[in-house]
Symmetry: C2
Subunit: 416 residues, 2 copies
């Protein structure tokens, strides 16, 4: 069973705009074992739209269109689909009444233009819209399924879950897809690939894709099976082999990102954290506090951008900065120790580096970052040279710091 | 002149993936006055692809496909386009030689599979690939233009700029599109819309779209004209009317976001900033330091998550917190003043609030945030109740704080 998704609306073709309904529907269809063959975003133009519907209905067993069901002149989805199907449109009296009643509830008289939302393609089943005015439509055309859904995500998703997904899942006959994401911090994508490709490339099911972010690599394992348990079993078989290739390196298999994982480890152990950030400028603190409940472990973070702030707030000696420079192993160490003692925290983190694009030199290039971790057992400093632009360098520095905390708490060997 | 863009590759249909080539090409075509009628993302499947090419060539004057030009079995763009056009494919001897030479330069023997990259649709002009192996192809088909470009963005963009865009611009006949983005902070999208819709809706050219983010609204004004100056002139006419409707509210018309604008204002005036953040957890500092050069104005930021940190680092009196609670006008004020005096900075900012999802009460609900600004003229506190989830509340709080700084520096009235 193969699907095609049409997103209708000229505004969706703006270069700055991401169309999100298609991603949502694709994800849900995958879970039902339905493959998406194409996604089409099309402008509000009758001829274009009718042509897109004809193409989709020729190629796919299931066509889902979103958008263009509103009351205005550029809402053309109903008319274009009817044209492509060569079927007439009829005005549905029951919908018309319910539209009028809806307006009456808000003490408003319905403008005539809204009546268009009661237009239904002959033979279509009407799908109620719990979160808006425009109803959806469902058709069967020569064994193919066609759904017209509203564009606003909260309207579309509610209708999709209530009236569309159950019918598709039933038709798809029970084959399911499941995806698990294994996450690895502070390793290069190519290093991960080299270690695990010999394993995953021997599997047809699950399929594996690697996505590399800044200091974060994701392995997406997607398996199909006759049941959720069968698909999960296929994933677990491969995941076990991958784990053996990356001992201690996979920080999450349950969707959580590194801040949530590190935060949970700290909370479980009733440990507290104090941060001293220079080049990351508060980004590590901001990421650790993305998750509610960070107050249980994060006492304070000191963004010490100036040297005076390092001296005042962290007790870093001015002579140390003079001797080694603000970006140095020695200053990172003093920052971590200063943050820890300032807060009487279990763990102190110090980060200093050159995020660029300005400020680099031959000796201390852009991307050079020192991350120090200070705990009861002493202080360790990691020196790294991160590639990429300012944003990627800062992201990688925060990933490295959190991975150091994670490895320390789990008693894993320190990284290379 | 109307364009359609095809992105080829099953991996692009993954729910987590954003296809970026289409946005790039759409933006450039707009600048050349070419409207994009549809964007299609299609799986690596010969029949699907050929059908997508047929549809696009029926609907558009210009078709640009990206991806599927590599050497492997699932690279099918050449064959599918040839099939749709009903033209044969010929192997180009010159390309084959240059492929072999490229491999020889790296002391490698070319695997046979790579020869496929020398396949050219009959009648196509070959487009050299400066950044990779797969060449592109350009065809004229009954007055329509068809381009096949490689998928990796750095290969695609170099080829597009060198060999595709100039021909399209020439064919488009000199009409150009220009877009200007007006940005407004700390206003609801609906409030902006209500003020400016009566103005922009009377204009056919420019077209205006409104995009709302967290504490940030963008007005995109897109005009076509016979020259860049004519398009800019049309934009300026409308922008002037919008400015009059939003006096002092537009913080940027040149692409810069609020952190860059506020940072530049501080640098120009040689003023320094010290931050005390609670619920935003370092996000304001992280955003202000996204731009290189923040060390000129940002002395320090104190993320005082615990009450002890507020007392220790900012000199907030413990009794004040006890009396009014950590989330209160009084504590926000003391945080701003404490940050300012700790750093001897020109301006101090204090932010305290409830970002949720936990921690709210009837009296102090999730979304309640106090932002205080302390300067030579005294301290002001703004109380806000922000809608949305934790992330949106934190973003809005940082926008509110930066907008307070901006308005203060420019001597604009404080906001309602």
């Amino acid at each position: 069973m193969r699907a095609e998704i049409l997103a209708v609306g000229s505004e969706l073709l703006a270069p700055t705009r991401h169309e999100t309904n298609g991603a949502y529907i694709t994800g849900r269809l995958q879970e039902a074992g339905v493959e998406v063959g194409a996604r089409v975003t099309v402008a509000d133009d009758h001829e274009l739209l009718a042509s897109a519907f004809r193409g989709a209905l020729a190629r796919a067993d299931l066509v889902i269109a979103t958008g263009g069901l509103g009351p205005t002149a550029d809402d053309l989805t109903r008319e274009a689909a009817a044209h492509a199907l060569d079927r007439p449109i009829v005005r549905d009296a029951a919908i018309l009444e319910s539209l009028k009643a809806r307006f009456a509830r808000y003490n408003r008289v319905m403008a005539a233009v809204n009546a268009k939302q009661a237009d239904v393609i002959e033979g279509a089943r009407v799908l109620p819209n719990r979160n808006g005015t425009a109803p959806g439509q469902a058709l069967e055309v020569g064994g193919r399924m066609l759904f017209l859904l509203p564009g606003p995500p909260w309207e579309m998703e509610a209708m999709f879950e209530a009236d569309v997904f159950p019918r598709i899942a039933e038709r798809a006959g029970g084959a399911v897809l499941r995806t698990r994401v294994l996450r690895i911090a502070s390793m290069a994508e190519s290093d991960v690939e080299q270690l695990v490709a010999p394993v995953y490339s021997t599997f047809q099911n699950p399929r594996t894709t690697i996505l590399g972010g800044a200091g974060d690599v994701e392995l997406h394992l997607t398996a199909s099976g006759s049941s959720p348990a069968a698909a999960e079993g296929a994933i677990e078989e491969l995941a076990g082999l991958i784990r053996a290739r990356l001992p201690g390196r996979i920080y999450s298999e349950d969707g959580r990102r590194l801040p949530a994982v590190v935060g949970a480890l700290l909370r479980e152990r009733s440990l507290t954290l104090a941060l001293a950030e220079s080049c990351t400028g508060g980004l590590l603190a901001a990421r650790l506090t993305e998750v509610s409940g960070a107050s249980a472990f994060l006492d304070r973070a000191l963004v010490t951008y100036s040297n005076a702030a390092k001296v005042d707030l962290l007790g870093v000696e001015a002579s140390l900065i003079e001797r080694h420079g603000a970006v140095s192993e020695e200053v990172a160490r003093a920052m971590a120790e200063g943050a820890r003692s300032s807060a009487a925290a279990s763990i102190g983190i110090g980060i200093t580096g050159i995020a660029g694009p300005e400020g680099g030199s031959a000796e201390k290039p852009v991307g050079l970052v020192y991350v120090a971790l200070s705990g009861a057992a002493g202080t360790r400093v990691r020196r790294a040279l991160f590639p990429g632009d300012r944003d990627r360098i800062r992201q990688q520095a925060t990933q490295a710091a959190m991975e150091m905390v994670r490895r320390g708490l789990l008693g894993l060997a320190t990284e290379a």
